[in-house]
Amino acid sequence: MTPLAAPTTTILVTIDEKTYSADPGETILDVCKREGINIPTLCFLEGVSTVGACRLCLIEIEGTRKLLPACATVVAPFQKVKTNSDRLKKNRRMTLELLFSERNHICSVCVANYNCRLQDLAHEVGMDHVRFPYLFPDCNVDGTNKIYNIDHNRCIMCTKCVRTCDEVEGAHTWDVRGRGFESRIIADFDEAWGTSPTCTLCGKCVSVCPTGALWHKQSVQNNMKKSPEMVSELTAKRGRKG
């Protein structure tokens, strides 16, 4: 678009007043990760496709009024990016509050307490309370699987489990049912996980789940450790990225 487009080899972008070089096709999040600039993310997972669903990684680009997701926005020559303006801080906090109010998150009784991305981020942005009324949706817990449980009360619909199950394990047990407030993660035809003919019990979904929505039956309160890097490393070894 711009007549001043740089030669195709490297692109110069300015992030928070500093200039960095980037390869064409890289996302703003890629550059920030490499340069050690912290951008909060919830639905992004290295190694599987990007959906831009959680809106936590929103950034500002000069000349655009809209906030754009860093995970899904590709660098362009001479882009000026802000990652930590007041507007963004406010927005992140609001997004987190909305996530909390949408389901029934009760950290004190959760297996992922102290090991939860959602909790960590709330802490990071200084969310001390939620200004929105809680919606208290009617969610169930499926404990039919031999080894794992899924508690929809704690799910934030990041769909990491869905993408990992499909793209890495190749089983596609999980998907999303319905729309908006009524959407839920489902196994097969919205059936019990325990009887799923497609599930291989590999546990990758449990590893990538950022909250306590998917957990190992053996873990008790506060001691669930998640390892999303495992999936990223696996895909890197297979020579595939995003």
């Binding site: 999980w174 998907d175 049912r177 319905g178 729309r179 489902i186 097969d188 035809f189 919205d190 497609t198």
Partner: protein, 167 residues
Amino acid sequence: MSQAQVVDVPESDPRVKQMLKVIKNYQKRPDALVQVLHAVQDTFGYLPMNLIRVVSKELHIPPSRVFGVVTFYYYFSLKPKGEHNCLVCTGTACYVKGAQKIIDQISASFGVKDGQTTPDNKLGLQTARCIGCCGLAPAVVLDNEILPRTDPAQITGLINARLGAKK
């Protein structure tokens, strides 16, 4: 509740063969999922669970993905609809133009709530968010026919005329 039971369709039903033919016409291409589901919905008036399984198998699409699509679109229904169906749009334009009054009027006249059918299964009432003809708001779809700029005072008469007429 007066909801019709969710029923499977026996494999011997001649319409099942018809459905398999449709699938074959699309060369079992997975991207024909929505078209195939449309055909099933139109032939049976709903999506029988056992046939959804067949569709998933024939098109080689994972069960959860098929179910995700089925539950995403308001057009698809897992339960048999009524003999006649009335869909009131509650999208922004129609909502502003008084869709709720239309729904209330239909509920009062026919004793049917959103998402249900009358006890005699004659009339089903559904709602959807924007059917794509906002210029005609408030819009109602009565058995695939669009009723533009509906008026709560007239809607009962229009539906009665339809119920009286042969399908």
